[in-house]
Subunit: 214 residues, 4 copies
Amino acid sequence: MLSKKQALTEFHRGSILAAAERLFAEKGTEKTTMDDIARESEYSKATLYVYFQSKEEIVNAILLSSMVLLQKKLEEAIRSNPNWFQAYNGVCEAIIHFYGENPAAYDTVARQTVMEAEGGQADQSLKEIRQVGEATNDLLADFLKRGAAEGAVRIELPPKETVLLFWAGLFGMVKMAEGREKYLQDTLNIEREEFLRHGVRMLLDSITKGRIIE
Amino acid sequence: MLSKKQALTEFHRGSILAAAERLFAEKGTEKTTMDDIARESEYSKATLYVYFQSKEEIVNAILLSSMVLLQKKLEEAIRSNPNWFQAYNGVCEAIIHFYGENPAAYDTVARQTVMEAEGGQADQSLKEIRQVGEATNDLLADFLKRGAAEGAVRIELPPKETVLLFWAGLFGMVKMAEGREKYLQDTLNIEREEFLRHGVRMLLDSITKGRIIE
Amino acid sequence: MLSKKQALTEFHRGSILAAAERLFAEKGTEKTTMDDIARESEYSKATLYVYFQSKEEIVNAILLSSMVLLQKKLEEAIRSNPNWFQAYNGVCEAIIHFYGENPAAYDTVARQTVMEAEGGQADQSLKEIRQVGEATNDLLADFLKRGAAEGAVRIELPPKETVLLFWAGLFGMVKMAEGREKYLQDTLNIEREEFLRHGVRMLLDSITKGRIIE
Amino acid sequence: MLSKKQALTEFHRGSILAAAERLFAEKGTEKTTMDDIARESEYSKATLYVYFQSKEEIVNAILLSSMVLLQKKLEEAIRSNPNWFQAYNGVCEAIIHFYGENPAAYDTVARQTVMEAEGGQADQSLKEIRQVGEATNDLLADFLKRGAAEGAVRIELPPKETVLLFWAGLFGMVKMAEGREKYLQDTLNIEREEFLRHGVRMLLDSITKGRIIE
DNA sequence: CATGAATGAGAATTCATTCAT
DNA sequence: AATGAATGAATTCTCATTCAT
């Protein structure tokens, strides 16, 4: 159990992160300044540095918490749906909702991969980030294998690769939906949610054994 | 026909854009400074402002020219391949190569959509960008309809929407491949190009009437 | 006699000063932060301000205590050596060791002189510092006069002035030895201590009636 | 010959350095900010960074030019006085005047020695600084040897070491005279210049063959 | 037309100091 | 009395943009 002091520290870190997350979502991490975060979080700029060592630490902390949260949501979606297809929908819904609420995570995840290239000199927080990312990929890869074992999915490629492709495809769709909400409604007359549900369906088709059904 | 003066202006704009494009591809738009562009283009920094009103205009101009170029490549791929499946591969190859050479375009497209929200105050260059985007979407939508007419593709969704989803999915895959080149080789033991070809195949499966071919 | 309360206050001030002195010696006053002092002294930063009004007061307090300590060492060296030349060596050893252990004092002394220029508005601690400085100078001036009376030293200048010059010369040598320890060993192949002993010898030559001794 | 552009650049660099030198002399390098230098030099802060890469470069540039200037003055003093004792006085006058006009140089020279410890990673400007320092020491060492050859000086220690001690002693005296100008006048009733002349005389005594004259 | 030169506005980060408990 | 927490005011450095020639 956390001491009162630790709890308070966590509270403040959380407030700062929440503010930063809002701003990152709105303007991106690059264009968000420490001044912005200070204003939004209603702490002084100096106080930010009491709770985080640098702007980078804030960015990484948000990335990490986002990824942990997503991981939990995915686990839950998989666990609570015995039927593979239902679980698949749950997984996709989780991802869609997640990015609906954490749009900034996209760019941060992109950054993660860049840092990956830097190799061994990565510090603790980056290691954690990578671990969670790996764990999530493994989780989905296992889910795919289960789908294959149950005959729901055909896997013509290694599961890990398939997961990555699936993930990337969904990612792109979510990102596009985020940016074009207005366009979708005005031109295609369709809601973001429905648009994404269609996308998820498309991706499902790309890995299910459609032919066998014939 | 352009006057000599106009032609010269276009020449200079082109030189600047070419330099900027190289730098954006290398370091991203955010981390590329006007000084960098001046050095690379071998103009003075002030001259940049003779041909472009701001850095943003350069970014937009590159986006526009990139999109125009892509549009042309797509038209060519479609026109030169009578067989729909071959044309499909050509289209995908074009996109893959295109982003391989213009990785920065991704972020700019993302930004474009954000600006779109700002509505009527968008300036000329943004309007053009949107127009080209529309044209490309239309091109692909027509291509899809042709595929459906030829019986190669099943369209369960409106073509425009399908194109957008397809586009977004491919986008995400390309982006991921870009950021994780090292990871792909080290962990999955696979080349970027091959990874993307698999992705393209997956996306194709998601829209083709696989069942009928059997 | 100090009340119990006053004694306790003195104890805390002493602990803080001891910690600060260590840090100043290591990194210099400028680069030592109040956080550093708090950590080293194992008080909270706020408590530092209970016992001292500002960082400057800590710096001055250390300077004062250093000067008092040096004064005592000099008195002892002079008192315990009946022979003037031995006492001279004792005095120089005392100074050399003193700055070996309190290198930071140098800069503070330099600062002292600057503040002196500010005239009447100097606060209590600065007055005390000046008083101790005067007392030390007087002590050495008397020592010189004794040397002259004993025929060991020729004084062609007023004692006070000679002391100041002697003092300044030794100061410069000690300071140089401090900064160039590595250089001395690598290039001149000589230890700091020996270098300074040579310097002390040189300074002695500059004030003794070498001719008469012959 | 310098092009007009280079000459102008040198002019601006010179103006900035002159302003910085004034401020460093007044408040020390640490306490002088880039804002101060901008104000004093009547350039904008950003312009400072057009002509110098960092504050450190300004500090180093001042140190270097000071040392080069001093070196020249010393060479001249030695060359223009055939008599060793007169040359000695010339050398001392040069040093005294030099620090009268560049008091800041003291601290910078002190810093130099610190950097010396950092060894091989020193950059170009630091190398130059060290070279000039070495050259000055060599110049004075040769001067001492000449004095010994002419029978004017007794050298009981290696010339380089003697130079360093002499140098350090003079340094200390100059520094003290600088800080205590007021004190000297009020208490000892003596001018800075005369005080230092006495010091120089003392140092001379410390290396001349006083005894032999007897 | 082209540009060298200059800069205003801001960016991340640091640190001595204050204050409520 | 002692301190955890918070911060105002700097500090170094950057960069898109302007302007006189």
